[in-house]
């Protein structure tokens, strides 16, 4: 059983809008993931600095 009986004329417009909806959301997720990544990288660096040179004078911030 297929639910598609007829071909709607503006299908490419419709599929475009559906893709825009998806794209806008995935763009946001990528931005969030990159931001989190950046924070995590900083955190790893902080921890590694503390762990591996606990006595050495810090050269950063």
């Amino acid at each position: 059983e297929s639910p598609v009986s007829v071909c709607a004329g503006d299908e490419s417009v419709a599929s475009h809008f559906a893709l825009v909806t998806a794209y806008e959301d995935i763009k946001k997720r990528l931005r969030d993931a990159e931001r989190e990544n950046s924070l995590l990288r900083k955190r790893v660096k902080q921890l590694e600095d503390k762990m591996f040179k606990p006595e050495a004078p810090s050269t950063e911030g």
Binding site: S2, P3, V4, S5, V6, C7, A8, D10, E11, S12, A14, S15, F17, A18, L19, V20, T21, A22, D25, I26, R29
Partner: protein, 131 residues
């Protein structure tokens, strides 16, 4: 300069709004789909909701579909909330792709599209427990 942009909000593509769509679902498990028919849409027994892989080209590209149940005692111009459940057997496997719900009228017109979701076993935030 004439711009060709059409506002999604005011277009017929937003006559159906999908509610609280998660970012990921378990593969091959029952999947609830909540949506709202705005007054601009008059439902028809042969309207349907499909799960589509993002990037689909035509309504025929649906992965699976369910007929959208007609509201009982529907009053023209009212707002209707619906819930349908896709059974696990028909739901995509974990494949790393994004899918979205689309509401399609009996005439083949798209009246709503959801944000995208994936099918995967575990949330990424749970992965650290696997260390």
């Amino acid at each position: 300069l004439v711009k060709g942009n059409v506002s999604i909000e005011t277009s017929s593509f937003a006559h159906v709004i999908f509610q609280n769509v998660g970012k990921s679902f378990l593969p091959q498990a029952p999947l609830e789909c909540h949506y709202t028919l705005t007054p601009a849409l008059t439902p028809h027994p042969k309207d349907w909701v499909g799960i589509f892989k993002v990037g689909w080209s035509t309504a025929r590209d649906y992965y699976t579909f369910l007929w959208s149940p007609m509201p009982e005692n529907y009053v023209e111009g009212s707002t209707v909330h619906r819930v349908i459940v896709f059974q696990g057997y028909y739901v995509p496997r974990s494949d790393g792709e994004f899918y979205q719900f689309c509401y399609v009228t009996h005439g083949g017109e798209i009246r709503g599209a959801s944000t995208p979701f994936q099918f995967r076993q575990a949330m990424p935030s749970g992965e650290e427990l696997l260390t």
